[in-house]
Each structure stands twice: as structure tokens, then as C-alpha cells.
Point group: C2
Chain length 264, copies 2
Amino acid sequence: MSYFRGIMTPQKTFRETLIDGETLFQPSVSLDCVIFGFHENELKVLLVKAKATDHWSLPGGFVFKEEDLEDAAIRVLKERTGLNDIFLQQFHVFGSAKRSDWNVHRINFKKDGIEIGPDHWLLKRFITVGYYALVEFAHVKPTPDTSSEACSWWDLNEIGELFMDHKQILDKALETLRLQLNHLPIGYNLLPQKFTMPELQKLYETILNISLDRRNFQRRMTGFGILKKLKETRKGGAHRAPFLYTFDMRKYRKALKQGLHGGW
Amino acid sequence: MSYFRGIMTPQKTFRETLIDGETLFQPSVSLDCVIFGFHENELKVLLVKAKATDHWSLPGGFVFKEEDLEDAAIRVLKERTGLNDIFLQQFHVFGSAKRSDWNVHRINFKKDGIEIGPDHWLLKRFITVGYYALVEFAHVKPTPDTSSEACSWWDLNEIGELFMDHKQILDKALETLRLQLNHLPIGYNLLPQKFTMPELQKLYETILNISLDRRNFQRRMTGFGILKKLKETRKGGAHRAPFLYTFDMRKYRKALKQGLHGGW
DNA sequence: GTAGCATTGTGTCATAACGACGCATTAACA
DNA sequence: TGTTAATGCGTCGTTATGACACAATGCTAC
């Protein structure tokens, strides 16, 4: 977690929260969100850039004293994306005693004209809970908080070094996504309502990082019986217009309980 | 987590730890272990019974200020089982704000002649990290700590109500075990070095809670190429002596990377 | 000892799933 | 209107799966 993302209540400024944090938040615990979207046939991740840091980081936050951990994650997502009802999965806890060099934070704060003492709550050790979220790209309005320079989508392949251990957290999220692809409605949550078979295939290929045979993919997906083929096609592409599909959620959920059998 | 299991250092008594806890441990964070074993063709779980509680609970503990979360789990496991090098997997964080009614704890402590104030660190809110462990049943020496009445194996089917939300934690551990059966060396860690095909099958059947065809099971398992068939048989049973097998760890690990393909 | 019995070892067969690939169709563009 | 490139739809041989038959073996009971 970046040390000052998503930690503000709507009523309080960043500076106030920095002082009050110890009374507001559950100590020791933070959370970080890996927010996935799918756009232009690429998997994207929403990152934020704090003013005082050199690197981009995952949007994160802390847990209010009386707040459920999961509600805190929902709150952070709402703040950064503007969305409610986000598909959210906890995937790992990062609890190394030396996840971060907190001294860096003091220096960064100082650069920003903020002095914090060595016993400040923000400099204490935090164990962070990783959540990943799947969102419909087009519905998201990336929203930086007032302490951020930026909040924007990054192509998965273009992400370099991240703040603290955030790259590891991201990698673990991707690994989890892969393992859960046959057990959770991942396609449903990343794609728009209507989508084409090539789009669905590209999503699978991106997540699994493999390439698949177009025709076999189609046979298998339709074989699951979780798709409804529409009579519309997606015109405007340079070639033959592919048919649009939607998920048949009843059958999709039913199939996922068993896990979508077979390979990949 | 039971509120006073596994929180003692070797040097300190329970009562001392109760006082020092706030300075020793990372606040807000606890961990609970679901320790699985396999014995007499049944899946077992190691539970502890605290003197002051009415219910059995999962062995758990807290995290020292400078200790990695994972090391804390390893420490708890070592204390309860006597084992090093335990197969350990983090599976979920339980972060509901109202996981427990801490008032119950005060009453229980009082029964035991221990008075703690309303601001005592043990009565604060804890977010607990669930770990499951797989151990070789025969190697374990269940060891209660000095504040426990008992520490012993329970058959999975005979476990009734547990302390706080520990039943939910156990259920989630089982669910995770099921999902990871084809991706982690679960058989290897639960079974003794040498085992028979019927034993391996029973393990699968117990974890997945289904029954499988004996002959198809054997074909599939041998088909993976992860087993070495020995020339010995397990004599002493009432009928034909089954052959013994061991895992071919090289091939096992290699196969798990892809996931053991196919059904179940 | 030996017959009975329950369990394990091994194999068969039809069916379904899978991987690799061919060819016709169609929308945009030149 | 022909070219191009992506999509729709189908084939074929191989492999994996589910269901089941029968022989082999080690204890037990007489």
C-alpha cells in the first residue's frame, strides 16, 4: 500500500488524517487492490501515483476501527473507480516483517513539506491484505485522491517497477486469477455485456499467457452452454463481423460450481 | 484464534504474556492453523481445548513485532505438533469487525481467576489469517500448551461447534484444499512415505467428498507418471495385499505446475 | 490344509473430449 | 467489384473417460 492513498475520509483532509490515523484505523493492517480491466484486447491494471513517491503503486487503504476488512476494500474501490458492486476477491496476505523501508517515507514526506516523527503510526509495520477486483473498463472513472498526482490504467506488459512490494502483489494476483479462471465468473466481470468470441478468447489468452486455437476455443466455450449467441454482429472491424454473445448467468454459475472442466 | 493459545514465548508464562502482550506482539493481527492429518483412512484435524472456554478451537497465535507472518505460523505449528518443515498454506483472512464477542473472554478469564481490564490488548479487535497445514499423522505429537486442557486429533466428521468463527475457518480451509488438490502436493504431505493405491484413493474421496471408481482412479494416477510402484505389498489386511507406492517427486512437482489435468 | 470371501490387479469397450486442420463466408478497403 | 483477412462451421484421428468383467491373492473359518 502506498502510505497515503485512500486513507482519507470524505470529511478529512490528507493532513488531518495523517494526524488522526491512529485513532481512526485498525493498527498493523492495510489493504491493497489490484484492479483489473480489459480494453482494446489487453489486460489493464489501475495504478496511482503519489506525489511524494517515485514509483506508481497499487491503490490501497486502511481499515476503520469498526469496519469489516472487506468493506474497507469496497470503499477503496469505490473511491478510485466510482463503482459499486465490484467483483472482489481476497487473494493473499503479505506479512513479511521487512516489507518496506519506512525511512524512505519520512524522507518523501519531508520533500513534500510534511514532518512526521519516528513514532508516527504510518511508519509502523503493516501487514497488508491483497484484493483483486474485476471491473468493466468502460464504466470506470479513474479518480486520484487529493494527495495523488495521477490515477490511470496501465497495460499489464508495460508496468515496470512499482512502489515497495507492489510488483510481487500484482504478480500474485495474476497467478490467482489464472488458477480461478475456471471457478469464478471472471469473463463476466471483465467483459462488457455483449462481447465477441475473439474478445473472449483474447481475454483467456492474456490471463493464461498462452495462445489457443480459435476453432477449438469456440467449440469448448459453446460446449459449456454458458453463452447466449445473439443475432447481432460487431460491425466496424476491418473484416468479417463476428457475432455478439452474452453470458447465460444461470448456466454460467451452475457450471462454475463444478469448475469448467478440462484443460488450459 | 483462541485467545490464549500459542502466545507464550518459551521464557514466559501465560500470565506474564498476558501482561506483556501489547509490547511483544503486532497489534490487530492473529493467525489460526487448520492442521490436517490422515489416519485410518480418515481426514483428521488437530484441535485444542482451552481451560476457560467451552468449545474446542483451532491452534493459533500472535505475531511478534519483528517476526514474519509466516514464521509465526511455523512457530505455532512447531509448538503444537513438534514438527519442523511443515507444508503450510495461507488460505484466507477473516476480517469481520464482529468476529467475536470479546466480553465472553473476560467472563471466561474471570472464571479462571484472571482479571483483565476492558482496555486489555486481548480484548481488542483482531483480524486473523488462516493457514492450513498438512502433516504426516504418525509423526505428530499433539502438545497442549500450559493453558490448555487438551490438544488432540478430531475426525473431520465428528467436529461440532467450535470456538468463535473457527468452524467457518475450518470449512474455508477444506474448500481451499479441494481447489488446490490438483495444483499442490497434497497427497505427498498427508500420506506416509509408502502408501497403497486404496489409501490414496480414500484421501481423494475424503477431500473431495465424492466416491470414485477404483479402477479408473488407478489408471489416472498411474497415467500421471507421478508414482513409483514398489515391489513390496502391504500385508496384514484382511484380503489381497495391495502394492505400495511412493511419489516420484521430480515428476510430481513438474506435473503440478501444469495442474493435474482433467476431472474430479 | 483348504474352501470361501472380500479386496486388489489388470484389461476391455463404447463414448466423449481434444488437438490439428480445411474450406466456405463475409465485411472493409482499394 | 475483386482482394484481403478475419470469422463461421465442420472433419478426422487420437486420447481420455466412464462403466464394467474377470482373474489373482491373502486372510479366515472350518
